[in-house]
Subunit: 427 residues, 2 copies
């Protein structure tokens, strides 16, 4: 029977779960893939941390980088994290030394995936990263294998469980952003420093990886990114009254053979499929030919879902299923131009908190009109503090740059009592 | 560059679509899989049918079975259909002669999959059948690869687009069964003889295949099957009023290490995910560890979706990704016992049309009580014809055999004016 020697570098929550999983499921994995997975080595930064797993002395590597040089290692599982530093050094060296690599590191792949892919292809080893995008949603393998026949025109959906948990809890539990964030941290749904989840960077990395796979292109850094930090409870409530939910969405499309990528909160119809995806779930919707639309939904993160993804990559390598990391050879991948969000059209939601005095509404509507944006709906409500009103504006389709000009211009007015908010509407 | 010679046997709608697809996408498939797919031969029953595809003279095989003997054939795509006759002969002979086989034939795989799998494994060739189950939903590849890490406890969902189209159109367009069936035939959503779609057999075949893959077991013929033929417009309306939708569902579960398979219409909560799957869509929900719940949704049938599935199988073979047809070797697959539906508990919906006379309700409720079934809700409504009432009963959980006894017993009463209906409720 063939054997594959594995080194797991990084034993945090995910690494420990994977280690345990591989020990407990060695037989079934061997039977399914006709090859024995052997965890030969592990390496960690802090050896003294409690892990609840029993590791033999001979399995410990003193220096993680030794895994890349050791003849008894065929596959390195990188679970260090971060686009730079040790993770980068490990993966580059591993591939150069003809070791297969499996990683959950979206930041690394989104930044260095093209370079890494060239080395992997040259050395005929696998570089697999299913776990880097929506762990419990086998979207990468589906794009590379299950949906391989399809010319994909668009991929979009909910790619960040933390943000989605926060937005849906603000809605359902009637709590404000900070209350919900605190609870998310307690439940382990948000990290101690959740900035990459909240500012959209996490979705940005995932989307870059997916659009490369979908459009047979190199990674493209041109992406509009906006997170959920400034979403107010009142936005959630206003959206509700208007028949919408607010979700943090990622979109990658091919428009006139140009890549158009964006991450931002959006108002979507309450009865739409995506509006129903609540909590830490992720959902990915693929539009392609000949398939039409295909949707995959599941848990996005956490040790269990991530291990499921890591094991699917490891199994593929156990079976000897050598593939190009990004579906196509680097020689055939395209360098595509990009489409800028500025020139695209959106219907939009604006929230202004204004001094309740004559002339304000007329001034606001005047700014919209000057910026070629026609108003579909305007709702003015007095706040509890009676001197202040909230003004909600829903626009017809208008150029994104005009919508932003409006926001900027009105922000500066002296009747504005709080930072206004613009949220795009996706129908 | 490696080459793979393909013979397509059967050129109906699907075969013709596949033929065209392979011609138009030869380059990209070659680039992605590092191997050239060449359609060497085709064979059909009726050569004279109009197909709108140009086939060279040298590509025609006079006798389809010659493909299994020809040295210039590596892979046979079987698109004849049916569990017996030429399809069976073709696939058995192909595998015996060490040809890879890709098929969309669920009836054949559900019946002879175990035998065929043994031959394929012995001869180290692939037998792939992604297209046999929900074409646009890459569920088989996901189970075998993307979700390979998971111990699956349940798979369920909507597996038949025709039935789903009929039920959702009855609901949304306020039409009766026969009107909608006629329209489904016009639109090409139902075949001229749609009996396998309507009586549940189609779902039954798909479910047998999926449960083998999920539970690492041999195909199991013990399955409860009931179709949608007797669903009345009034059932749809009653369900609506009670907060439910009616869907034809398939379920396969592992209960105490026994396989429990069933196909039947069910009332499900209106706001559930599955209730929102309308038209010809399919949706498959997988429960497993460690992944939790994962869902895949897409178009179930038609030449485009089926071709997407066939190409994913062909690509896997192009890459030389040899796998066991049912995930595990036949030597390791288990023969599991089965759980009978009779002893399982369901809450249920009953519809009775009765003569509106004294004592009827008392008699009905008496039969329920005698059969150990307690009533949760009872609604009596006079029909337009004032001598007849409709009585709707919603029960608490009760043994399936008791529910059926009630149905049988009340059916025979002389106050019953029309065949009563029992539909299980799935919460």
């Amino acid at each position: 029977m063939r054997k594959l020697n594995i080194a797991i570098i990084g034993l945090g929550n995910i690494g420990s779960y994977l280690f345990k999983y591989l020990r407990e499921n060695k037989n079934i994995l061997t039977e399914k893939n006709n090859c024995v997975p052997i965890v030969k080595f592990v390496s960690v930064k802090n050896k003294k941390r409690k892990r609840n797993i029993s590791i033999k002395k001979i399995q410990w590597l003193n220096n993680y980088i030794d895994a890349t040089k050791n003849k008894n290692v065929d596959l390195i599982v990188e679970l260090i994290g971060g686009a730079e530093g040790p993770a980068k050094k490990l993966v580059f060296n591993a591939l150069k030394n003809k070791k297969h690599v499996v990683t959950a590191n979206k930041a690394l792949i989104a930044k260095y995936g093209d370079q890494l892919s060239r080395i992997a292809e040259k050395n005929k080893v696998n570089l697999e990263f299913e776990a880097s995008v929506c762990g419990g949603v086998p979207i990468i393998r589906s794009l590379k294998e299950g949906l391989i026949a399809n010319k994909i025109s668009k991929i979009h959906g909910i790619f960040n469980g933390t943000s989605n948990y926060i937005l849906s809890s603000m809605d359902k539990e009637n709590k404000n952003f900070n209350e919900v964030l605190l609870k998310a941290k307690e439940l382990g749904y948000a990290e101690t420093n959740p900035s990459a989840d909240l500012n959209g960077d996490d979705v940005s990395s995932k989307l870059k990886i997916l659009s490369s796979l979908c459009f047979n292109s190199f990674l493209n850094n041109n992406i509009y990114v906006e997170g959920i930090k400034d979403i107010d409870k009142s936005d959630i409530d206003n959206a509700n009254k208007l028949g919408y939910k607010i979700k943090l969405l990622g979109f990658a499309e091919l428009i006139d053979n140009k890549i158009y990528q964006r991450v931002h909160p959006a108002l979507i119809k309450k009865d739409s499929y995506v509006a129903g995806i609540d909590g830490v779930l992720n959902a990915v919707i693929v539009d392609g030919k000949p398939i039409g639309q295909s949707t995959i939904q599941g848990e996005g993160a956490g040790p269990a879902a991530t291990t499921s993804a890591l094991i699917s990559d490891i199994s593929s390598i156990l079976r000897g299923n050598i593939k190009f990391p990004f579906s196509l050879s680097s020689k055939k991948r395209k360098k595509l131009k990009f489409e800028n969000i500025n020139e695209r059209f959106f219907s939009a939601y604006f929230r202004f908190e204004v001094l309740d005095k004559p002339g304000v509404l007329s001034n606001i509507t005047n700014v919209f009109s000057k910026n070629k944006t026609s108003i579909k709906r305007l709702i003015q409500n007095p706040n509890k503090n009676k001197k202040i009103s909230s003004v909600i504006v829903i626009t017809h389709d208008s150029k994104d740059k005009n919508l932003n000009k409006i926001l900027k211009e009105i922000s500066k007015k002296n009747y504005i009592k709080r930072k206004p908010k613009l949220i795009r509407i996706d129908d």
